[in-house]
């Protein structure tokens, strides 16, 4: 019988099926960071347990690290303490750590693929909801909480129910100025923020096939914003070319053997899905969110919709969103004034994202009064960007060029919105209070659109700025 990648990965990692219908699933790669994981070390100590397979877990620091100066000890004593707890736990339990002095530190979902740790056919877990990112390489990857981090450390397994599978086919060519971020925002707009609950998403179709790995990472990253705990793209030549030569990818003849296995894990041609959805790429325009969840968005040429036009279950949230954002239905999204521009996060802080933003920033100036930040996703991204002079383009335009970390995506370090500021952000969540100010407001968009907004001082159509 024809199988999907989800079927094949699930079968290969099943330790046992419990009578209840749950699966004891082996987790092939476990990633941890300083905010949700050190408590799990303490749980292990209290239970007298060891880490079952220390070589299958990798750690880094990303959520609370400062991005202005990363000199230890950090100025923020609590951030320093949390980092110390992670470092100590990694030493005690024998877990490799990509620390700030490693040259390999960065946002956990940026460094996994970048180092070649993330490979097709794997199961991956991490105490972070954006673990879905790793599905771009053809893995089944999901976010977990701290108690489950403990379970993975102690047993290398999780108790899981197999999700249903929805294939999302995007067909055709994206027009200039429309990016992977717009594709996933359009998908979430179409299916809603709870449309994916109970499902894994398989992204397919000619648009996805034509995407680079970095673009696919952006799409899979926001699966969770659509309610799907994981999302993936089948491994293909793009995947193979991306992984070749990466530090943790197999080398030499092992790589060739790996490629055979990776390709065998892809969904069979005649496999069936629980649901199939189609989108046309050429109908997607640059997308901007206007509300308080990532499904509340419009094309940049459009107006903020009337709550009455929403499905009944959404109307109350739409009204709440308009009230919180202080927007009016019928108002054009273009021209909305911004105070802050943030280019960063596990969604959009890879080299291609920075290039796209730099293309817009080159030779232009950030509008007066706008605070603009570029936070690369990893030390390696920063190094590569600096090697091609992107940092100078950004600085000349008036952006701050920072060091790698999660930064203003969730405002756990010093990078926060203040008061009612409006932020054009390349991150993934526009929830109330998300960017560090309880009353701050977030407009999600692509990195190029953020650069355009920074320069215009207001939401602007990046297509008019691309030469």
């Amino acid at each position: 019988m024809a199988k999907t990648l989800l079927d094949k990965v699930w079968e290969a990692h099943t330790v046992r099926a419990l009578p209840s219908g749950q699966t004891q699933l082996l987790i092939g790669l476990h990633l941890i960071h300083e905010v949700t994981s050190p408590q799990a070390f303490q749980m292990l100590r209290e239970m007298g347990l060891r880490v079952r397979m220390p070589a299958r877990t990798f750690a880094t620091v990303d959520h609370i690290v400062p991005t202005a100066s990363q000199q230890r000890p950090f100025g923020d004593a609590v951030a320093e303490e949390m980092t110390v707890h992670l470092v100590r736990g990694c030493q005690e339990f024998g877990i490799p750590l990509f620390d700030l002095d490693s040259g390999r530190q960065g946002i956990v979902h940026v460094i996994g693929p970048e180092l070649g740790l993330t490979q097709p056919g794997m199961t991956i877990a991490c105490g972070d909801s954006h673990t879905s990112t790793h599905g771009a390489v053809g893995a089944i990857a999901f976010g977990i909480g701290t108690t489950q981090v403990r379970d993975v450390l102690a047993t290398q397994c999780l108790l899981m129910a197999k999700p249903k599978l929805r294939q999302i086919r995007v067909e055709g060519k994206l027009t200039r100025g429309v990016y992977a971020k717009d594709v996933i925002l359009a998908i979430i707009q179409r299916l809603g923020v709870k449309g994916g609950v109970g499902y894994a998403y398989e992204y397919a179709g000619s648009t996805l096939e034509a995407m680079t790995m970095e673009e696919r990472l952006t799409v899979c990253n926001m699966s969770i914003e659509g309610g799907a705990r994981c999302g993936y793209v089948n491994p293909d030549q793009t995947t193979v070319d991306y992984l070749r030569g990466r530090p943790y990818a197999p080398q030499g003849t092992a790589f060739d053997r790996a490629v055979v296995w990776w390709r065998s894990m892809a969904t069979d041609l005649d496999a069936r899905f629980d649901d199939v959805v189609r989108l046309e790429a050429d109908r997607i325009q640059p997308v901007v969110t206007w509300g308080i969840n990532p499904g509340q968005s419009v094309g940049v040429e459009e107006r903020i919709p009337e709550p009455a036009s929403a499905p009944e279950s959404e109307r109350a949230t739409w009204r709440e969103a308009l009230g919180f954002m202080d927007f009016k239905a019928g108002q054009a999204i273009a021209g909305t004034k911004i105070d802050v521009a943030f280019i960063g996060s596990c969604t959009n802080a890879r080299l291609s994202d920075l290039r796209a933003a730099a293309e817009v920033a080159r030779g232009r100036q950030v509008a007066k009064g706008v605070r603009a930040l570029v936070v690369p996703g990893s030390q390696a991204v920063a190094k590569a960007a600096e090697a091609e002079g992107l940092h100078e383009i950004f600085r000349a335009a008036g952006f701050e060029w920072r060091k790698a970390g999660c930064s203003m995506c969730l405002g756990m370090n010093e990078d926060k919105l203040r008061g009612r500021e409006v932020c054009a952000s390349s991150s993934n969540r526009n929830f109330i209070g998300r960017q560090g100010s309880p009353t701050g407001r977030t407009l999600l968009m692509s990195p190029a659109m953020v650069a355009a907004a920074a320069i215009a001082g207001a939401v602007a159509d990046v297509r008019a700025m691309l030469r």
């Binding site: 290969a12 046992r16 419990l18 219908g21 408590q39 673990t131 909480g145 489950q148 102690a154």
Partner: protein, 198 residues
């Protein structure tokens, strides 16, 4: 066989929380994740929402001491932070009945022994109104009979069989269950090409 950790029937006063898509950033803002333990989170649950909305149910005297949360659709969406169910539990929540739950939040609650059960939205809305009217009356979540009770009204509830079994038998702390298979874990690992070295 019943163990102290079994979750068969959970009774307590209710607290109604209107609205859908309530995310974990709202349940516990990220600044409270700056700590190396979960202690003290209870007092910060919904902190910003409570400041912005004085009438927030978690502020109301009538609902202090409640332990059954009645919420809408897609509750707990967003960040995987276990701090959200930890904060709810430390505030006093022992069971949640809602229209639907985000999956990571649901898994985190299960791992803490907090049942999250779903019901039709018409029943949820009725229960929210009923609890608001009679905050001193107890809500019963009966996992054995798969029903919620309030006064003389019986509401059918749903919960996946596997998780229901874990809660009924007190095996929601998965570590022990996962360790039962012993070396079978390593056997599966050795068969995986990427662990075996391709």
């Amino acid at each position: 066989m019943s163990t102290p950790s079994a979750r068969t029937r959970i009774a307590g006063r209710g607290i109604p929380l209107a609205g859908n898509d309530i995310d974990t950033d709202r349940i516990i803002p990220a600044r409270f994740l700056k700590a190396v333990t979960f202690e003290g989170l209870g007092e910060h649950v919904f902190e910003d929402a409570r400041k912005q909305e004085p009438e927030h149910p978690f502020n109301q005297a009538a609902f202090q001491g409640a332990s059954i949360l009645v919420c809408g659709l897609n509750f707990g969406c967003g960040s995987s932070r276990e701090h959200a169910p930890q904060a709810l539990r430390r505030w006093g929540i022992r069971g949640v009945v809602g229209g639907s739950f985000a999956e990571i939040f649901f898994g985190n609650c299960t791992a803490l022994g907090i049942p999250c059960v779903t019901a039709d939205m018409a029943d949820i809305e009725w229960l929210q109104r009923a609890v608001a009217r009679e905050p001193r009356r107890e809500v019963l979540l009966d996992l054995e009979r798969k029903e919620a009770r309030f006064a003389d009204r019986v509401i059918p509830i749903r919960i996946p069989d596997g998780v229901r079994g874990q809660l009924l038998t007190g095996t929601w702390n998965a570590t022990g269950v996962l360790l039962e298979v012993g070396e079978a874990i390593e056997a599966v690992a050795r068969r995986l090409p990427y662990i075996a070295g391709y």
